[in-house]
């Protein structure tokens, strides 16, 4: 894991001081709310329906147990005893007092954490593969590159007032666990002639105009990654639309001028700046990479697991993935208990997960974009002990990638933008399908409470969009989306439903899928083979 040196620490400490001063100027009236807003947003502080919400960065989703415990401490001391893990691998607290925010940042800084650029029209937290460093299918650990990007993007002087927010993801495997092509910039590391480099995709995103990112650069090596990305951002900063907030993302610029014209402009800009000394030396990437060397895995760890406990075996099959090191495994802890709030964890649960990481998991945890927590490096021999502890804490739901493993935005229960509630709907769906979800297999269901798509509904095998229909909440159903390597955008089925109606409609869709599926087809495979029509007939008769 990356460990701050004196430079990193001094920058984060300075930020705490700067923000404390900004809050004081706001509280004293020296600054208007309009002037304060972009400054507090750059520190992840939003004004929600009921209170301030603070979003804390978890760079590329990686934490150690000490940092995880700090998240529990903040939940207990400054919030109502829980936190909410987000689709950008961050955590947010929904009941924060403005006057407490500087103290929270000061506490975070003691464990090398911050809330820098977790909102605002700037480069946001860099996201990555939650299995990085543990997955057998990666060409390299993507996190050193993500850390290099974190440093480059932190307080970038040119790109702090972009037309709109800017999200970057880095992966290093063919299996895309980070929805890479639904980012403003998606980076896939690959090896060519023995050299590690990056393929660059630009212009993806969800929101009200979902688009899949285009390949803009076939291969760029680490020694010119920053100057190339500066070129990508500069073209956007200069020519992205600023007249309409809903058309200000980079995907709209690419859509309007075309990917070829965009690429040409980027190449011209890159030619002008590539030799200006913007790029750090390769020694910097090597310095960072050395810290991600990974733990020393036991080479003699037993590779077999006792499956005699049937409940444990179910969890093992659903929530445990293969690790690159024999005798080891990757555990995903579901934060989607049936009837619970997707992504929420209590302070006690956060502490327990930290304890498990410290005791069994080489002190590492990950946050996933699907709002779950991962213990990336555990011994198979310890799986039963881990499961027992999780079960006792209500964290052993065996539903990874099943229909109740729902991504949901906070919705109308918290968010001032929402048109409809997401959380109660997620709870109803979980309850309706709990008994038969394993029979349905992999089925990624995602709910957004408005067209801004924070709940990734475009990328759901089944997506739900909450809208406001003449003052009542109404839900539209989409089928066929995917945020993975087989990326696609869902299509709307037809007229929407009320809350119970949409749950019934999903049941009709899944019933039809069970009738139609062949062999080991997932719902998404069946949908792609047979198309929308059979499902429409099932829903609307």
């Amino acid at each position: 894991m990356y460990v701050y040196d004196e430079y990193d620490q001094s920058i984060v400490d300075a930020r705490v001081e700067e923000f404390r001063d900004q809050v004081n100027r706001r509280l004293s009236g020296a600054m208007t709310e309009d002037q304060f807003k972009p400054l507090r947003l750059m520190n992840g502080l939003y004004l929600q329906l009921h209170a301030y919400m603070l979003r804390v960065a978890v760079p590329y989703g990686t934490l150690d147990s000490r940092q995880m415990r700090m998240l529990g401490h903040i939940a207990r001391k400054y919030d109502r005893g829980y936190g909410h893990f987000t689709t950008r691998q961050n955590i947010q607290y929904n009941w924060i007092k403005l006057a407490d925010a500087p103290d929270i940042l000061a506490e975070l800084a003691t464990v090398q954490m911050h809330a820098i650029q977790t909102s605002g029209n700037c480069i946001r937290n860099i996201s990555s593969d939650q299995f990085a460093g543990a997955a057998a299918d990666e060409v390299a650990d993507p996190r050193p590159w993500a850390e290099l990007l974190r440093q480059w993007s932190t307080f970038h002087p040119e790109f702090t007032y972009l037309p709109r927010k800017f999200k970057i993801a880095v992966i290093a495997a063919d299996e895309d666990r980070a929805a890479m092509r639904l980012h403003d910039i998606g980076i896939q590391l690959l090896e060519r002639d023995g050299v590690l480099g990056a393929k660059i995709f630009v212009g993806g995103g969800m929101g009200r105009t979902p688009m899949i990112a285009h390949e803009v650069k076939d291969f760029i090596t680490a020694d010119h990654l920053m100057s190339y990305l500066e070129a990508c951002l500069r073209v956007y900063n200069r020519y992205g639309r600023r007249d309409n907030i809903y058309k200000a993302r980079i995907k709209i610029l690419l859509h309007e001028i075309g990917v070829d014209a965009y690429r040409e402009q980027v190449e011209a800009e890159f030619a002008a700046i590539r030799d200006l000394g913007i790029d750090p030396p390769l020694a910097e990437l090597e310095r960072i990479t050395a810290m991600f060397g990974g733990p020393d895995f036991a080479t003699d760890a037993p590779d077999t697991v006792d499956r005699s406990d049937p409940d444990f075996a179910v969890w093992l099959d659903q929530n445990v993935a293969a690790h690159k090191q024999p005798g080891h495994a990757i555990v995903t802890i579901s934060l989607k208990p049936i009837g619970g709030i997707p992504g929420d964890a209590s302070a006690d649960q956060i502490d327990l997960m930290a304890d498990l990481a410290a005791r069994y998991g080489h002190d590492e945890l990950r946050v996933t974009h699907a709002q779950n927590i991962v213990l990336p490096h555990v011994r198979k021999a310890d799986l039963h002990s881990i499961w027992t502890a999780l079960r006792d804490a209500g964290l052993a739901e065996a539903n990874l990638d099943l229909i109740s493993d729902i991504i949901a935005c906070p919705g109308l229960d918290y968010c001032s933008l929402a048109n409809a509630r997401s959380i109660p709907l997620a709870q109803k769906i979980g309850e309706r399908f709990a008994g038969r979800q394993r029979e349905l297999g992999e089925l990624k269901l995602k709910i957004s409470g408005c067209i801004n798509a924070c709940g990734h509904h475009h990328a759901g095998h089944i997506g739900i969009l909450g809208v406001d229909k003449k003052g009542t909440e109404n839900y539209q159903l989409l089928l066929g989306g995917s945020g993975a390597e087989d990326v696609s955008l869902g299509k709307i089925t037809g007229p929407g439903f009320d809350e119970d109606g949409v749950v019934d409609a999903i049941e009709r869709v899944t019933d039809r899928y069970v009738e139609l599926r062949e062999g080991g087809e997932r719902f998404l495979d069946t949908y792609r083979r047979v198309g929308m029509q059979p499902f429409k007939e099932a829903i609307y008769g």
Binding site: I11, W152, T154, E158, Y161, R238, R242, I278, P281
Partner: protein
């Protein structure tokens, strides 16, 4: 220069300048007007103007003023860097909705003069400019990025 010199111009503007030469006294003209004649020495770029159109004429320009119609409009940051990267050494002035919290970033992008619509609080600015001991990235100023400090 760490702290700015405050200058009141004949036009009634208050400038914060991080340079000690004499204020250029020719009023800036628009980009179109500049490109349409041969002897202007001060140009004003609107937020959407292409700074690259000036690159062939940098030798004759003493002042480029870049407009910030609202502090949220970040195009001027790129315009400034483009001019500095091309070797422009004249006065680079940010004019309009320039707020104290934006000035440290503007300094890094190459601005060395500010014509804010509303007065800037001097002590706050001094504090902000000294706040961060070093930046993470190389930009258009002389500050040394962290990676350079780490690796020499």
């Amino acid at each position: 220069m760490v702290d700015p010199i405050t200058v009141n111009t004949n036009a009634g503007e208050t400038l914060l300048r991080f340079r000690d030469d004499v204020v250029h006294d020719e009023p800036a003209v628009t980009l179109d007007a500049f490109l349409g004649q041969t002897n202007a020495t001060a140009v004003r770029l609107e937020a959407g103007d292409d700074a690259r159109e000036l690159l062939d004429h940098l030798g004759q320009i003493a002042l480029v003023e870049i407009s910030f119609p609202t502090f949220r409009d970040g195009r001027g940051y790129s315009a400034a860097r483009i001019l500095r990267e091309a070797g422009f050494e004249g006065e680079l002035r940010a004019a309009g909705d320039v707020l104290v919290d934006q000035i440290p970033h503007m300094r890094r992008c190459g601005f060395d003069s500010f014509a804010p619509e509303k007065p800037i609080d001097g002590p706050t600015l001094t504090k902000l400019l000294a706040l961060y001991p070093q930046p993470y990235q190389k930009a258009a100023d002389a500050r040394v990025p962290v990676w350079k400090l780490r690796h020499g």
